[in-house]
Symmetry: C2
C-alpha cells in the first residue's frame, strides 16, 4: 500500500502516520490486507519523518496542481486528505479557505478521476457543517446548514467526495469529526482552539481563556480515538456504506463546566483557578452553533468507537502528551 | 433596476423576462420598488428580445470569466441565475456539468463579491438535491443526499449562495423548484424531460414515451406558478429568511397515472393511447429517487404559492402554449 497523508505535518496527520507505521498493514479496495510500503506526508510545513524508511515527506501546497500531479499516481492506493485551513482562519481569509479547503480538495479528486485507478480517500469533515436551529441530538438525516465558511467548504467537500464515489472515480469515505480534545501544543486559529486549551494550559501551568459560557455544550473526541476512527473508516468495505459515504463519528457531549470538573477530579481543583472567563462573540457564534451531540448509532454499527467519558480523555492527554512532571 | 437573467434564452428565462416586462417594477435590496430599466438576457444561444428597448441580449458562455466581467457591474441590481446544464446531460458529461453548474456559478458570485455592491441573486435549485431514503414528505430539515452530479452541483450552488449571503457579499435567495410541467417545445436532456412529454406530446398529436412505472410519484409546478415564485422570491425581504436562504417552492404531488387521468378528463380519454410504456433504468433511478412531495409551509408563509391541482396545469398549458386547433 502506498499511503498519502495531506496535512501530514499537522496534529492528526503526524499521529496517523505514527499509528500506521505501528500497524504496518491496511486493507485495499478489493478487501485484501496489504503491507504499507510507503507513507507520503505532504504539507506546506516540513513533516517529521520518524526515521522510518517507509516515510517520505514532501513540502508543498496541495492547491498547486503540479504538486498533486507529482505526488499522486496509479500506485497511490490510499489518501488521507487532512490538509485544511482551520475555521477561524477560513472565516477571516475567505479566499484562502476557498483555495485550500475547496479548490485543492477538488483538484485532488480530479487528479484521481483522471488516473482512473479509484484509490480510497478518507476526508475529514467537521461538526461545522451543521448550524442554525438544531435538534438536541443531530440525526444522520438532519440537514446541513453551515454558519461559517469553513463549514460550507467542508460540506462541499462531502458532496464532491460522495458524487466522485458514486460515479466510481474514487472510493471515498467522509468522516465527520467532533471537536478533537485534548490537542497538545500551542493554540491555533480554529474557533474551537480554546476547547483543548481549557485542559492543556492549566496542566502546563498556564492560564487558559474561556470565550464561551460555562454551560456551552461541546461534542468531543480524543486524539487517540480520532486516529482509530480514521483508520477504521479507511478499512470499511465500500458496500457497508449506503447511498452516501458520510459517517458521523462518535463523540461525547460535555458542557464546559463538566470539562473543568473532570480536570479538577483528575488533576486537582486548584487548576480551575487558571481559567480566565472572557466572552468572544465570534467564537460564541461559531462554536455555540455547532451540535452538542449527534446520533452515534451508524458509527457504532460500523465498529467506529469513541471515548467513554471525559475523565479518561484528560488522563489520556496526561499519558500521551504531557511532559513528565509538568502537572503543577 | 438593472436585471440580468443568465440562461435568458431558456424556457424559464424567456417567460421570466416577458413577465418582468409586463410588471415593470421590482424591489431593490433596500425595500424600494423601482422601475426595471434594463433586462440583460445572457445565454449561449440567442435570446428572443421581445422588441422592447429595455431588453438587451448577450450571446456568451457564463463559464467565461471575461464575459461575466463585462455583463455584471455595480449597476447590476438583480441577477436571476438560471443558466444550467440539465440533469441528464450533467450526468453524461461530468466535466461540462462541473464547469457550468458549479464553476460558472462560483465565478458569478465572485464577480459580485469583488464589486462589493451586494446585488440580489435568485438561484434556481431542484428536487435533485434530495435522494436516498426519504420520508414520504420531505421537510426543510431533511438532509440533502443528491444521487446525480446535477443534484450535487445544485447543492453546492446552494451552499455557496448561503455563505456568500451570510458574509454580505450578495443578497441571495435559493428557490428549490419542483419539476416544471408542462414545458412546451421539444424534449430536452433533463432526466425529467418525459414528464412534460406525457401531457404535451399527446396534445400535439404525437406519441410520448413513459420510462417509469405508472405509480411513480412526481412533485410538479406549472411554468406560470414557477415564474410567479421566482419573482416573489426576489421580492422577499432578506430578513424574512432565517439562517439560510433556501425555500422549497410549493408543488403538487401526483402519480404518473394521475397525470394521465387528468389529461383524459381535460382533453379526452383517447389521448392516453398515445403513451408508449418503455422503462429506462437511468431515468427511473434518477427521477424515482427525487422527493414525491415536500413540506410547503415555509413557502406559503412567505407568500410563495403553487398550483391547486393537475387538471388546471393541463388547462394552463392548453391556454398558454398550445397552438390553436392542435388538440386532436
Ligand atoms: N482537530 C479538530 O478538532 C478537527 C475537528 C474537525 C475536523 N478536523 C479536520 O481534520 C483535519 C486535520 O486536522 P488537524 O487538527 O490535524 O489540523 P492541523 O491544522 O494540525 O493540520 C492541518 C495541516 O494541513 C496543512 N496544510 C494547510 N494548508 C495546506 C496546503 N495548502 N498544502 C499542504 N498542507 C497544508 C497545515 O500545514 C497543517 O499541518 C483537517 O481537515 C481538519 O479540518 C479537525
Ligand atoms: N425546468 C425544470 O423542471 C426545472 C426544475 C428544477 C430546476 N430548474 C432550474 O431552473 C433553471 C432554468 O431551467 P429551464 O427549464 O429554463 O432550463 P433551460 O435548459 O430551458 O434553460 C437554461 C438555459 O441556460 C443556457 N445555458 C446553458 N449553459 C450556459 C452557459 N454556459 N452560458 C450561458 N447560458 C447557458 C441554455 O442555453 C438554456 O437556454 C435551471 O437552472 C434549471 O436547473 C428547472
Amino acid at each position: 500500500m502506498n499511503v498519502m497523508i495531506t496535512g501530514g505535518a499537522g496534529f492528526l496527520g503526524q499521529r496517523l502516520a505514527r499509528r500506521l507505521l505501528e500497524l504496518g498493514y491496511l486493507t485495499d479496495s478489493n478487501g485484501s490486507k496489504r503491507a504499507i510500503d510507503r507513507i507520503l506526508l505532504v504539507d506546506v510545513v516540513p513533516a517529521h519523518d520518524f526515521g522510518d524508511p517507509r516515510v517520505v515527506t514532501v513540502a508543498g501546497d496541495i492547491a498547486d496542481a503540479a504538486l498533486l500531479h507529482d505526488v499522486i499516481d496509479t500506485q497511490t492506493t490510499s489518501i488521507f486528505h487532512l490538509a485544511a485551513v482551520v475555521s477561524g482562519q477560513a472565516e477571516a481569509d475567505f479566499e484562502l479557505g476557498m483555495r485550500i479547503n475547496l479548490d485543492a480538495s477538488r483538484q485532488l479528486l480530479d487528479r484521481c478521476r483522471r488516473l482512473g485507478h479509484r484509490p480510497k480517500i478518507v476526508f475529514t469533515s467537521s461538526v461545522a457543517v451543521y448550524g442554525g436551529q438544531l435538534p438536541a441530538i443531530v440525526q444522520d438525516s438532519t440537514a446541513l446548514n453551515p454558519q461559517s465558511s469553513y463549514g460550507m467548504q467542508k460540506a462541499i467537500g462531502e458532496l464532491l467526495l460522495n458524487d466522485y464515489s458514486r460515479k466510481g472515480f474514487v472510493d471515498g469515505r467522509v468522516l465527520r469529526l467532533p471537536t478533537i480534545c485534548v490537542r497538545p501544543g500551542k493554540p491555533n486559529k480554529a474557533a474551537s482552539s480554546f476547547v483543548s486549551g481549557l485542559i492543556r494550559e492549566p496542566l502546563n501551568g498556564k492560564e487558559a481563556v474561556c470565550p464561551v459560557a460555562p454551560d456551552t455544550r461541546l461534542w468531543l473526541l480524543s486524539p487517540r480515538s480520532a486516529i482509530e476512527c480514521l483508520i477504521a473508516g479507511h478499512e470499511l468495505a465500500a458496500a457497508s456504506l449506503g447511498s452516501n459515504r458520510i459517517v458521523n463519528l462518535p463523540g461525547i457531549s460535555v458542557k464546559v463546566e463538566d470539562m473543568l470538573a473532570a480536570l479538577a477530579r483528575v488533576a486537582g481543583p486548584e487548576l480551575i483557578k487558571r481559567i480566565r472567563w472572557e466572552r468572544d462573540p465570534m467564537v460564541e457564534r461559531i462554536v455555540g452553533g455547532w451540535p452538542g451531540a449527534w446520533n452515534v448509532a451508524a458509527a457504532h454499527a460500523l465498529g467506529l468507537l469513541g471515548d467513554t467519558d471525559f475523565d479518561s480523555i484528560v488522563r489520556a492527554y496526561i499519558e500521551d502528551d504531557l511532559e513528565p512532571n509538568t502537572v503543577s
